[in-house]
């Protein structure tokens, strides 16, 4: 029977020692699993251990202790089998500088065992999707950083590896391309591919990920889908009100509710509150009596709020 587990990480530890410097526990007793066919987000602040975890899962680094497996293959004992199951976009702008865009795609496919007419056709299709047709014969060393990144991500669509690792995939992409890549990734997940991504752009993770793990200092601090994570940081609300004309005593009224953040732009006020739901509604009602309201928006905590809250909490407790 085929397991539903794509990735299993069990008490993983990675310690770096550099010369006489103090040892660094980049990954510290981390355990988690990833189901097949999901978009899994591995989030954390800089130095949290995301990239190290990814390096271990993609066989680029060996764990100090603990185990990790990809589709049942141990990342240390069966590294080659793991590599047959994965496609990896690493953080650097890794591309074949001396090859054209087309040859980058074809060479990548060749390494994964794909060659011939069908692959050349697929390369044309992928270049079309990533807006690379006009630079198909241009050497990558002559392209800008953003376009190189596009080439790098485009390569993942040249192969059918069941698991894709994307480390900061959208860096250097413009909003339109990013949107279309997100759609493509969703399509891939719908077809059963498992996508593991790290990102610093939390709205991206919020939009894409079915399952999120937040880590800090190499340890897991929260896990679940967005709805579940929201329950971990309750009583946090983002409120936006647009007035026809902002009331003069607006800031005075709001100050009584001790907002965590407050911005007033023209006739729009945005605030972040840590309050009971009834208190939030009380504030909105109060403000609505002071002037004609054109728009009201009340949201629970965003992933960014959750992320900041949880990482700060874990920082305080460590």
């Amino acid at each position: 029977m085929v397991s539903d587990i794509a990735i299993a990480v069990d008490h993983l530890v990675k310690v770096y020692r550099r010369g006489n410097q103090e040892e660094v526990r980049a990954v510290d007793d981390l355990s988690f699993t990833v189901q097949r066919g999901v978009i899994f987000g591995l989030l954390g602040p800089n130095g949290a251990g995301k990239t190290t975890t990814l390096r271990i899962l993609t066989t680029l680094a060996r764990p100090t202790s603990g185990r990790a497996s990809v589709l049942g293959h141990d990342v240390v004992g069966a590294a080659l089998e793991v590599r047959k199951q994965i496609g990896v976009v690493i953080q650097e702008q890794a591309a074949e500088l001396f090859l054209s865009v087309r040859d980058n795609l074809l060479t990548f496919a060749r390494f994964h065992g794909d060659a011939g007419v069908a692959v050349r056709r697929r390369a044309v299709d992928v270049m079309g999707r990533f807006g690379l047709e006009n630079v198909a014969e241009t050497k990558v060393q002559d392209l800008s950083g953003g376009v190189r990144r596009r080439v790098q991500v485009a390569k993942m669509f040249m192969i059918d590896a069941p698991i894709i690792f994307l480390d900061e995939f959208s860096s250097g992409m413009d909003a339109i391309l990013k949107r279309s890549v997100i759609e493509l990734l969703r399509g891939q997940a719908a077809q059963g591919r498992t996508i593991v991504l790290t990102t610093q752009i939390l709205t991206e993770a919020e939009e894409l990920c079915d399952d999120i793990l937040i880590i800090n200092k190499g340890q897991s601090i929260a896990r679940g889908d967005l709805q579940h994570l929201k329950t971990l940081v309750d009583r946090l609300y983002d409120v936006t009100l647009s007035f026809e004309r902002a009331p003069e005593d607006l800031t005075q009224i709001v100050a009584g509710f001790h907002p965590l953040a407050l911005t007033v732009t023209h006739n729009t006020v945005r605030l972040k509150l840590r309050e009971e739901e009834t208190r939030v509604l009380e504030l909105v009602t109060l403000l609505a009596k002071r002037g004609r309201v054109l728009r009201i928006e009340i949201n629970g905590a965003s992933l960014e709020d959750i992320f900041v809250e949880l990482t700060q909490r874990s920082g305080r407790h460590s």
Binding site: E92, A94, A95, E96, L97, F111
Partner: protein
Amino acid sequence: MSTRGLEAVLFREGKIRATNWTFIFWDLLYPLGYLLVFGLGMNASLGFTAGLSGINYNAFFLAGVLGMASFGIASNTSWSFFLDRDNGIFYEMLTYPLSRSQYLVGKVLFNVGVALVQAVLTVVLSGASLGVAVRPQGLPLLVAATVIGTSGWFFFYAIFALRIRRNDTFNAVTSVFYFVFLFASSMFYPLDPLPRTFRLVASVNPITWHVDVLRYATIGLGDARSVTIEAAAFVVFTLVTFVFAVRALEREG
């Protein structure tokens, strides 16, 4: 062992060389330029025959050019190795479905192939334009020396390309290697007339071992016993550098 990974490495290297004329220049034409410009000039101006049993400088220098080609091809590859690591594609390649040994062996095979093509070009051109005749019975040794020589220098350079992190340091190291290895050796001149210290340094220089074997193979210069010892020393050098290159590669991931 599946050869798919190996084929892919060869495909990649071939694509890079075939679509970048500067690589072709450095690998194939640069040593020929040495032979035709430097060698011809030295031969004509210095009439280099003293102590060499009537062998002219062109014939003497042929082995030097073949050794230089192996050394140069390995040096160029290490430079591209360094660039690959610097821009990240090297690490990405380590996540491709091929073993570390397939990666190294593929690179070596390609370099050996280029070195053999270069050797054929050099031998043919030196025969046609400079009248240097290569002895037929030395051809198997010439092929072996080209294959092992290129591999040895590739592994040697790979160690530094994998260990050194900074571009300026890498350039400095390779420049020093070029100068020291090539000039403190029997590549450009016979060692006998040189000062004792120079001869001592040259005698422990693997380029001297490599070039002396090539010289014996091409024009029969040197005695069989000392050339055998030098050949054995170079094989040991190749094995040792291979071990260190594999270790350096494993440290990378």
